[in-house]
């Protein structure tokens, strides 16, 4: 089969690309749209480094085919900050040293933003379980969780 032409919206922008039916959304974001923020850590949906939002749902982009996103809306890490302002989560992660090597960071930020949109007041346990599919090998998660709980509190206060 020849390549499939896909039209979608990424971070609010209309995009189009050609893909082999076997290519994943992750492959397409990275190799065709130059959006390399989503990472392939495992290719099997076990690590969450490829997390994006697809039509409002948090998903692993390695478990979605490029062909499947025709007409859909995708949000990636690249769309998280507005203009020159970082999202509060991004600011807090830097401040709290909630990242070391940073490879899992985009996935965790995308996943956490999705959590706080759904539940602005999560408990520590709820945050940990929501992020169970986002592996981090460097930090032991401690500073990540603290950054998230603190940001959630800030965001609740600001709203």
């Amino acid at each position: 089969m020849s390549n499939i032409h896909v039209n979608a919206t990424v971070n609010g922008d209309e995009v189009g690309f050609l893909c082999d039916p076997r290519e994943t959304l992750l492959d397409c974001l990275r190799d065709k749209l130059s959006l390399t923020g989503a990472k392939e850590g495992c290719g099997t949906g076990d690590c969450g480094a490829c997390s994006v939002k697809l039509s409002g749902r948090l998903v692993c982009s390695c478990l979605v085919l490029g062909a499947e996103v025709e007409g859909q809306e995708i949000e990636t890490i690249e769309g998280m900050s507005r203009d020159e302002n970082l999202h509060p989560l991004q600011e807090k992660f830097i401040e709290y040293a909630a990242l070391q090597c940073g490879i899992c960071t985009p996935g965790i930020l995308v996943a956490t933003k999705a959590l706080l949109e759904k539940n602005p007041d999560p408990t520590e346990t709820e945050v940990r379980y929501w992020l169970a599919g986002n592996l981090c090998r460097c930090t032991g998660y401690d500073k990540i969780i603290r950054a998230i709980l603190d940001t959630a509190a800030d965001m609740r206060e600001a709203s």
């Binding site: 099997t44 969450g48 478990l63």
Partner: protein, 285 residues
């Protein structure tokens, strides 16, 4: 690989009847894509069912029963307050699969059709007495969930057949269901043992029960002896012990990288007790 997006079940059936080579239906893709990436199964024909009307709907019929479309992801089930209130065991079983991200895509039908003996949602569906609607060139028919698995990795479905929906019975007011599994970490693992219990309680006594075990037999089945052990009891310690023994006795597990025969057999008994206690509590509240 040829990728198709039929707009109706009859179109999907037609494509699959004519397909040459390995054919897979695609709903959530959380098994199909993993197998594709790992070179375990490279479909020649991939039929994406998500553009078919109603596959993404959860409907409650007038008699209280439920119809869950084949492409409803676990996250959507978990967000449905009424379904979750009535069938918490089914919803929590599905919810345990993978991560939040996997939940955004994975479906009950996909979990069933992947044919893994360790599938989490299957014991819960069987315990609930669920059925699936199978569509083919011959029309549609209802099949009990426990009659779908054939052997590890295989279902009884033939070429040109696919499942359009999962049907859950109406929940009786004095009933409750629960699903537990044992995994080494807190999330993300394949069940080493899974146990689903669906029971009804009348004046403190278990009036009927359906118990199903996962990951301990070649295909997920109903364990009648385990149910018999608690029917007519108040789920006292004696009944729980009998339940535990019956559950362990029903196991025919394997040794593999996730657990030993001895371990699975023992834990099946432990989980059966614990799941029964949760279902009992839910039935009475």
């Amino acid at each position: 690989m040829q990728y198709y997006t039929p707009k109706s079940f009859s179109e999907a059936i037609e494509i699959s009847m004519e397909a040459k080579g390995i054919t897979r239906f695609l709903a959530g893709g959380t098994d199909v894509l993993v197998q594709l990436r790992a070179d375990i199964v490279t479909p020649d024909v991939l039929i994406d069912i998500k553009k078919i009307p109603e596959v993404g709907d959860i409907l409650q019929n007038s008699d209280g029963s439920w119809r869950i479309g084949a492409a409803v992801p676990g996250a959507q089930l978990n967000e449905h307050k009424d379904l979750k209130a009535q069938w918490p065991g089914v919803v929590e079983a599905m919810d345990l699969i993978g991560s939040t991200q996997v939940q955004g895509r994975a479906t009950l039908v996909g979990n069933l059709c992947n044919g893994s003996p360790a599938a989490d949602s299957v014991p819960a569906l069987i315990a609930a007495g669920a059925s699936v609607t199978v569509v083919s060139v011959n029309g549609s028919r209802e099949v009990l969930v426990e009659d779908i698995p054939h052997s590890p990795g295989k279902t009884v479905l033939e070429k040109g057949e696919l499942i359009s929906a999962v049907n859950l019975p109406a929940r009786n007011t004095n009933g409750g269901d629960a699903y537990l599994r044992l995994i080494p970490r807190t999330e993300m693992d394949i069940a080493v043992v899974g146990c689903a219990v669906n029971l009804s309680v009348k004046e403190g006594i278990v009036s009927d029960a359906r118990i199903s075990l996962g990951a301990v037999t070649a295909k997920v089945t109903l364990v009648k002896e385990a149910a018999d052990a608690i029917i007519g009891t108040t789920l006292d310690d004696k009944a729980l012990t009998a339940l535990s023994l019956a559950a362990s006795a029903a196991c025919k597990p394997i040794n593999d990288k996730r657990g030993t025969i001895e371990y699975r057999t023992h834990v099946a008994g432990v989980l059966a007790k614990r799941a029964a206690q949760i279902a009992y509590k839910r039935a009475r509240s």
